[in-house]
């Protein structure tokens, strides 16, 4: 019964918290740039404003264009429900593991890319093509991270990995460091952050994600924006949960434990969000054709993480 309550709480939490995290990152970035910046709760207002506006759909668009925002949002939301944030005791936990998580994110990407091509404009195709290039390297990199975690802990279920780490079975390992680096690189790419993509740009040569969703307006755009906010939350939660699971409530913990878990999750989230803002401020955007080097690097790091397990075993 508890598992059901925590699951519902998690479903609401990821959506409710997501705009705040995005707003917070923007606010910290503005401060680092020497601007005052909009309030961290600005994204809530933006989303509400978009919902009130009528949606404009191009004549050439098919039903895919109209369905894609909802499918993307629902798939990312579903994926976010599976990542343990404050507790591992959730009903949906056995329904999907890390592999399914990667695939659920791929569903959202598949639909967004198709929607980008649906209207038949040059920018839509450009964005879709680049997004799929990024995905074709980022997705395997994330699977390799999953592979090395599964070799260390013997499972691909995030909740079980947390339990394994919290039981004190894992020391400091080179593999974990490499896997963390790979996952961070993937997270940057998947969320369209600098140096891969710039979420604040509309400069045609550098757009990736924005180019795909250029035709969207009104509630459709709100859904797309909300989906990317939830995705950012998901990746922050994933990194925090897998590599710093301390504080998470395990099955059997009472409401107090869950409260501690919630506090720990919020602390970790805002710490990571601040780190993201600092990182984005201190680095420049990369050329499109260097993505392959960056993400190929992530893939190789993931592969090295698994290979190093045996090396350290043999030494």
């Amino acid at each position: 019964m508890n598992a059901m309550i925590w699951q519902v709480l998690q479903i609401i939490l990821v959506v409710a918290l997501a705009p705040l995290i995005t707003g917070y990152v923007r606010w910290v970035k503005a401060r680092l740039n020497g601007r005052r910046g909009p309030s961290p709760i600005q994204p809530y207002r933006d989303l509400y404003r978009l919902l009130q506006k009528e949606a404009i759909v191009a004549h050439s668009a098919s039903w895919i264009f109209r369905a894609a925002p909802y499918v993307t949002f629902a798939s990312v939301w579903l994926a976010a429900c599976i990542v343990p944030t404050f507790t591992t005791n959730m009903v949906l936990a056995p329904a999907a593991d890390l592999i399914a998580l990667v695939a659920l994110l791929a569903v959202g990407r598949f639909w967004t890319a198709l929607a980008g091509m649906d209207v038949g404009t040059a920018f839509g195709g450009l964005g879709a093509s680049r997004e799929m290039l990024i995905a074709s390297l980022a997705e395997p990199a994330m699977l390799m991270v999953t592979f090395s975690l599964s070799l260390i802990s013997g499972t691909t279920a995030p909740g079980q990995i947390v339990a394994f780490v919290l039981a004190g079975n894992v020391g400091v390992e080179v593999s974990l460091g490499l896997a963390l680096a790979a996952l961070v690189m993937v997270a940057i790419a998947e969320n369209g952050r600098i140096p891969i993509d710039n979420p604040a740009t509309h400069l045609e040569l550098t757009m990736v994600h924005e180019a795909m969703v250029l035709e969207y307006s009104g509630r459709h755009l709100a859904m797309i924006e909300a989906a990317s906010m939830v995705r950012l939350t998901l990746f922050i939660a994933l990194i925090a949960t897998l590599f710093a699971p301390w504080g998470i409530a395990q099955p059997g913990a009472g409401p107090l434990g869950v409260l501690v878990g919630m506090g720990a999750f919020l602390a970790k989230t805002f710490l990571l969000a601040s780190a993201l803002a600092v990182f984005e401020t201190s680095i420049a955007k990369m050329r499109v054709f260097r993505y392959a080097d960056f993400l190929g690097g992530a893939l190789l790091l993931g592969l090295l993480a698994t290979i190093f397990l045996y090396v350290s075993e043999a030494v």
Binding site: I11, L50, L51, E54, A55, V57, A58, H59, S60, S62, I64, Y70, V71, A74, W77, L78, L92, A95, A96, D97, I99, A100, A103, A106, V107, A113, L114, D118, V119, G120, T121, A122, F123, G124, G125, S129, R130, M132, S136, E139, P140, L143, M144, S150, T155, T156, A157, H202, L214, G218, R219, A222, M223, F289, Y291, A292, L299, L303, T306, Y310
Partner: protein, 668 residues
């Protein structure tokens, strides 16, 4: 009885098509007959799946006088009968309408039932003679349909390469069976199962079986014929060759390696797994750069065969190492992927056929905007594209998940080659899955979305009733096979049980809708639950958004960042979509080079953009081999013009040589 009746009806249908081929109706009737026969065979397969001891046997006094013809349907055969006749039924139903548009249909229709017959007989064969004869028959029947439109230079080349590679495959399988039968020449499968092959014999049989069946399935580097031959045939035949015939080839591989061979060491599994990984990545890299829709689908078949072979290799490795539970898991995963591929690849090829019959084109460059003009075909193709891209909750994801899960258990084996090899193959598999999604976003987005790039595409209309529904049924199957994974794995474990020797339940711990291969805590997946929750969240999202905000919608011209063009040519094309990928992956592997010639300022000559690419396998392996064979043929050609004296001399010398060999052997 049902099966025998269906099988007998197939040659009669072929005869009927030959005799009354002039009439339009004859073709529809033949395909309708094929449909009924396939459904009957499907039902037959279904009844025999799961019957452990009661595998029906039949011995007919046909074929070689001392051998007779042996037939048997065990669980594995029954399972493959399901896969094959499902695809065959869909392709037949599609062809009822589709064949009306084919100019060469009198060269296709009579061979179609024979092709179905041959594939079913391969599955039922219980001795090497029937197996090989049916196998050859299958190759030749499909070859005749590949060259049905022989006026095209390309098709002639495809037919030529296909014939050579089919001969090569049989050339490998023949000695493999010969070695298994031994000098006594007992060609029944029962005798082969109990025979001990010895070290050398076992090695040769495994190698020859992998090469023979692998060339038919399309393993790299023996795949070269596949992307030529599969697209050259009419689309309903392409669907059968890609979706179904490759499964017969894999059946042959499983039958020989896991059933007849008996003792296979884990090394073979490791090698096969690596070959599968390379096949998967190479196949999809080729696919993602193709412009021709059918060639793209054919290369994607190469990729999927690679994925299935990774699972098969793992199963062999686990079995060779004595870990039968994991072997059963890997084999279930592999069979699941084969079943899935037969569903969605048949669907996609039929979709390509529908596109061709509606527009007359198969090049992505001239398509576009078909979803609005062909809503049924477009939606069914979308389901197939999502399924082959391994997106949950469709069937492609479940099998990739199972293969990844069994791969993750690979390092449990105490061999260093496996410990290091498995992560590399894992990376290959992950890369192939991600690139497959890219490939199908590109294919679907260019062909079905956007604005039409030619008048033919703009004037396309939806295809006829039968064609439409054969695709819709397959699309529904893609969903069903993905949403009830545990029911499917339970059915598959019947076929796996005799091969690995363990009764294996993939859902042992958590119960019906949960797929938990090793134990409940080792990672689980449930398509059923995920779909239910996903739909609920989807509904909540739509409801909330429409409740909180407005429902108004306005149709307008596209915005396109402020400068929309009314020219469809300003859209991304298949080539421009592939350009970043070509630069990222094609530069080293295919030596893709782009040259841009810009005229001087003031010069009004057009600028040109040229892309050159090399196929490393064709130019590195096939072309030199072809040259060597050509050189030998030129020189051996002289033997055709010897005098009678010369021929007699040669016979004499051969005889002397043979006697010498015998003499030397007796001395040893």
């Amino acid at each position: 009885m049902l099966i025998a009746g269906a099988l007998l009806s197939l040659p009669l249908l072929a005869l009927f098509a030959v005799l009354v081929g002039r009439r339009d109706a004859a073709h529809s009737i033949t395909y309708a007959g094929c449909f009924v026969a396939s459904i009957a065979l499907l039902a037959g397969g279904l009844t025999y799946l799961g019957g452990h001891d009661a595998s029906p046997r039949l011995v007919l006094p046909l074929g070689l006088p001392w051998l007779k013809a042996h037939f048997r349907i065990d669980n594995l055969s029954a399972l493959f009968m399901l896969m094959i006749n499902l695809g065959a039924a869909a392709a037949s139903a599609f062809a009822v309408g589709y064949s009306q548009h084919l100019p060469q249909r009198r060269r296709v229709t009579p061979f179609f039932p024979l092709f179905l017959l041959a594939m079913n007989l391969v599955l039922m064969a219980d001795d090497a003679f029937i197996f090989l004869v049916s196998w050859e028959f299958m190759s030749l029947a499909s070859w005749l349909m590949v060259v049905s439109d022989h006026t095209e230079e390309e098709n002639r080349k495809a037919g030529n390469v296909y014939l050579i590679m089919a001969a090569f495959g049989t050339f490998c399988l023949l000695p493999a069976f010969g070695l298994m039968a031994g000098p006594g020449g007992d060609f029944t499968f029962d005798a082969m199962r109990i025979k001990d092959l010895g070290l050398m014999g076992g090695f040769l049989v495994a190698l020859l079986a992998i090469m023979g069946a692998g060339s038919k399935a399309g393993l790299v580097p023996l795949h070269a014929w596949l992307p030529l031959a599969h697209p050259a045939a009419p689309s309903h035949v392409s669907a059968l060759m890609s979706g179904v015939m490759t499964k017969v080839a894999l059946y042959g591989m499983i039958r020989i390696l896991l059933d007849l061979h008996g003792t296979l060491s884990w090394h073979w599994g490791a090698g096969l797994m690596l070959v599968g990984g390379i096949t998967a990545v190479m196949g999809v890299l080729y696919a993602v750069l193709q412009d021709d829709l059918k060639t793209l689908l054919a290369y994607s078949t190469v990729e999927n065969i690679g994925v299935a072979v990774i699972g098969l290799g793992l199963a062999i490795a686990f079995k060779g190492d004595g870990q039968t539970e994991l072997a059963a898991l890997a084999l279930v995963a592999s069979l699941y992927h084969m079943a899935n591929h037969s569903v969605f690849k048949t669907l996609l090829f039929l979709g390509a056929g529908a596109v061709i019959s509606a527009t007359g084109h198969r090049s992505l460059t001239v398509l576009g905007g078909l979803l609005k003009r062909m809503p049924w075909t477009g939606t069914a193709f979308l389901v197939g594209a999502a399924a082959i891209s391994a997106l949950p909750p469709l069937n492609g994801f479940v099998s990739e998940w199972l293969i990844l899960q069994s791969l993750f258990k690979g390092p449990a084996m105490p061999h260093w080659a496996m410990k290091f090899g498995v992560p590399v193959v894992g990376a290959f598999l992950a890369l192939a899955a991600a690139l497959a999604a890219t490939c199908f976003v590109r294919a679907y987005g260019i062909a079905f979305l956007g604005r039409p790039r030619s008048t033919d595409a703009a004037q396309a209309t939806e295809v006829s009733f039968g064609m439409r529904w054969s695709m819709v049924v397959l699309a529904v199957l893609c969903v069903v096979l993905g949403v009830i994974p545990v029911t499917v794995t339970d059915a598959l474990s019947h076929a796996v049980q005799p091969l690995t020797g363990v009764q294996f339940a993939v859902s042992a711990d958590l119960g019906w809708p949960w797929l938990s291969p090793v134990s409940a805590t080792r990672g689980a997946y449930s398509g059923t639950i995920l779909v239910m929750f996903g739909l609920a969240l989807f509904a909540i999202a739509i409801f909330t958004v429409h409740r909180l905000g407005t429902q108004a919608i306005r149709r307008a011209d596209p915005w396109d960042c402020g400068h929309p063009e009314d020219i469809p040519q300003t859209q991304y094309t298949s080539q421009s979509f592939a350009q970043p990928l070509r630069r990222a992956f094609g530069h080293t592997i295919f030596q893709a080079r782009e040259t841009v010639v810009m005229p001087e300022p003031g010069d009004d000559a057009p600028a040109t953009h040229k892309v050159t690419m090399f196929d490393p396998i064709w130019s590195g392996l096939y072309a030199p081999l072809g040259r060597v064979i050509g050189w030998i043929a030129d020189h051996v050609n002289r033997l055709q013009y010897l005098t009678v004296r010369g021929y007699l001399l040669m016979m004499f010398l051969t005889l002397v040589f043979m006697l010498l060999v015998v003499a030397v052997r007796q001395q040893l």
